[in-house]
């Protein structure tokens, strides 16, 4: 793992990302009228200062270590905490994204049984029967509560509503 100023490059990830985000935010904010942009601009500039301090605090320089002691002494310092996202994590996040995509495309009442079944069967390693049962019960309960009792029309998906 490459090192920069004594720390793994990956450790700078979070504040670096926030820095870029805040700069982009500032650029957009300056496009608005002075009154409109007053508060966003003040906050964004403060953020830039804070995030810079965060970046410095992650270096192993004297300044960095001092900042860590003063401002984030109880932040977890166990090794690996600031590692980049592992494969397991990316998979977990992808499943959530997949659920959302499914709900948006084929609608909620189709996405739920599919998702629950797939999750329980392939990630949970349960039998087909168990997965099917859990998926069915979940869908039934959701359908009963939201469609029958609350009379809310559950989204039918971009592909469903035509």
């Amino acid at each position: 793992m490459k090192r920069l100023l004594g720390t793994d490059v990956a450790t700078y990830g979070p504040p670096a990302f926030l820095f870029v985000f805040t700069v982009a935010y500032l650029i957009v904010a300056y496009g608005y009228s002075p009154a409109s942009r007053a508060f966003p601009v003040i906050v964004a500039w403060s953020m830039i200062v804070l995030v810079t301090i965060d970046l410095i605090s992650r270096t192993q320089t004297r300044a960095g270590r001092a900042l860590t002691r003063w401002l984030i002494p109880t932040a977890a310092t166990t090794a690996g905490h600031d590692n980049p996202l592992s494969r397991v994590e990316i998979i977990a996040v992808s499943w959530v994204a997949a659920l959302v995509a499914a709900m948006a495309l084929i609608g909620i009442l189709y996405a739920i049984p599919l998702f629950v079944f797939a999750s329980v069967r392939w990630r949970g390693q349960r039998s087909y029967a168990a997965s099917l049962a859990i998926a069915s019960i979940t869908t039934l309960l959701v359908w009963l509560l939201f469609t029958r009792v609350l009379r809310i029309e559950l989204y039918s998906g971009l592909l469903g509503s035509g």
């Binding site: 953020m47 965060d54 003063w70 984030i72 996202l85 959302v100 739920i112 329980v120 859990i134």
Partner: protein, 504 residues
């Protein structure tokens, strides 16, 4: 005055009213537990049903719902890190870690009792204050709101003990996000990029569901296992433990109830602020603030007391002027109007018995709901033993549908997922979520109130310094900042020294 109080209870203690109260309570518990649904949805659902009821019965039903919703929300907040209602997000902070340690029963018990006591204190305050409700509401204008919002932001920023820098960054992020949307004061959209959905800004409840529920589900599926790995502790869950804790920490309960009552009475500020403010203040007052967020029972007691205290006082602006304190109150207003009770300055004098009856209904329902929570503590705690591979997909689906159901916007689901990922990253990289939430809620209010104040004061900043309540608030902010900073200075040195020596 006492006779009106008693008149209210008397009207309530009829079989039919009590039955409807119980019904409302059951519905409130259920709706409170499911994320995205809440008091507002429950009341909206019941509104057409109340059409044929006597006004007082309708009030008993409404009171039943409103009193029980927070308890329902606490249960899912503690067991699954899923805030059933927005204010319960504060309960997640320490409630869920307790569940992870196998102490879900303890947490639920403490929440239930704090709920009940907070509710009672809130009620008594409301009853005492109702006659001067109008004047109270008039005391808080835009300058006061601005300073109050600032106070809220300051308290939570300083509450992230040991991680002040990261707390401030989270807060800044929350503020930046809160500015998204249509600007009510100056007109014009900001940071929406033409997306209609963002016109109203980032919708709060979907964001919270994502930040807490989805984030934790991602965390669970990465970690594996169940919510709690401590099956032994879960199995010996008892009702009494939680109750005892609440009585042991009675200053926390009192503080929470007080904060809830005061904050709840201010329209537009709401339960989230009450809960988080109560939480932050308890952290500040504590002797080991670093233990918060890791399963400190006071971190459950404080917000829970505040949430229920606020329910009563949120009625004050609603009844005095017809200004709903939140979505739930807005729907409740609708029920009132449907039954011929126009909220307004006259309401308090024309419908006194009904109002006092309602307040008692709220309290009774709150106590009953807490009792039920206590009764089911053991089976509920068992949920923490369910394997995450089964729990996660189910909770994810229900959370997403709940998020959608708030206002049938499919974009809510996308927002929830986005905040879920953000929330997970914050857990992962150790940035506190507490400050993000408060900033999200208060950011836009602070800005709007600021600009309004300047318009009221003709552009002079003196408007913030010449009004009594403003002066009190400024004093509070200054006190808050300076006193702990000095104390914290010494404490940080001490804890750093201890930390080096006693590293886990």
């Amino acid at each position: 005055m006492l006779d009106v109080w008693l008149g209210g209870i008397q009207s309530l203690l009829q079989v039919r009213e009590l039955m409807f109260l119980a019904l409302g309570m059951a519905i409130g518990l259920m709706f409170g537990a499911i994320p995205g649904l809440g008091g507002a949805t429950a009341l909206a659902l019941l509104m057409p049903l109340t059409y044929g009821l006597e006004p007082f019965t309708a009030l008993a039903l409404s009171g039943g719902v409103m009193g029980a919703v927070p308890m329902g929300g606490s249960i899912t907040a503690i067991l699954l890190n899923t805030p059933g209602t927005a204010p319960n997000a504060a309960t997640c902070l320490d409630g869920y870690p307790l569940a992870q340690q196998g102490k879900a029963g303890l947490a639920i018990g403490a929440a239930a009792s704090a709920n009940a006591i907070g509710g009672i204190i809130g009620t008594l305050s409301v009853l005492a204050v109702l006659p001067i409700a109008k004047d109270l509401v008039l005391l808080f204008g835009p300058p006061e709101f601005f300073l109050l919002a600032t106070f809220g932001l300051v308290t939570t920023a300083t509450a992230s003990r040991g991680k002040v820098l990261r707390g401030l960054i989270s807060g800044g992020l929350g503020l930046m996000i809160s500015f998204i949307g249509y600007n009510e004061v100056m007109g014009g959209e900001r940071f929406t990029f033409g997306v209609d959905y963002l016109w109203d800004g980032v919708h709060l409840v979907p964001a919270l569901i994502g930040l807490f529920a989805v984030a934790e589900m991602i965390n669970l599926s990465v970690r594996g296992g169940a919510v709690s790995s401590n099956a032994g502790a879960v199995k010996i869950t008892s009702m009494a433990g939680g109750l005892l804790e609440t009585f042991k920490h009675w200053p926390t309960v009192l503080r929470g109830s007080l904060v809830g009552t005061v904050v709840g009475a201010i329209p537009g500020v709401g339960g989230v602020v009450a809960a988080f403010l109560s939480y932050s203040m308890t952290v500040q007052a504590s002797r080991n603030p670093e233990s918060f967020g890791k399963g400190n029972i006071q971190g459950v007691i404080a917000p829970e007391a505040a949430i229920n205290a606020k329910d009563g006082s949120a009625l004050i602006p609603t009844l005095a002027f017809g200004i709903p304190g939140g979505a739930e109150m807005a729907v409740f207003l609708g029920i009132l109007v449907l039954h011929g009770m126009q909220p307004g300055p006259m309401m308090l004098s024309q419908h006194q018995t009904e109002i006092y009856g309602l307040v008692w209904a709220l309290t009774l329902s709150c106590i009953l709901a807490s009792f039920i929570g206590l009764l089911f503590v053991r089976p509920l705690a068992m949920i923490t033993l369910v394997d995450s591979k089964i729990l996660v997909p189910i909770v994810l689906c229900v959370a997403m549908v709940g998020s959608y159901a708030i206002d049938t916007n499919i974009e809510n689901v996308v927002l929830t997922a986005a905040f879920g990922i953000l929330g997970y990253l914050m857990i992962r990289f150790d940035y506190p979520r507490l400050t993000v939430v408060i900033a999200l809620v208060l950011g836009a209010t602070a800005e709007r109130s600021f600009h309004q104040s300047l318009m009221i004061g003709d552009g002079h900043y003196s408007v913030f310094f010449t009004r009594t309540i403003c002066q009190i608030l400024i004093a509070c902010i200054v006190a808050w900042l300076t006193w702990p900073l000095l104390g914290g200075f010494f404490r940080t040195r001490k804890s750093v020294v201890l930390g080096r020596e006693g590293r886990r």
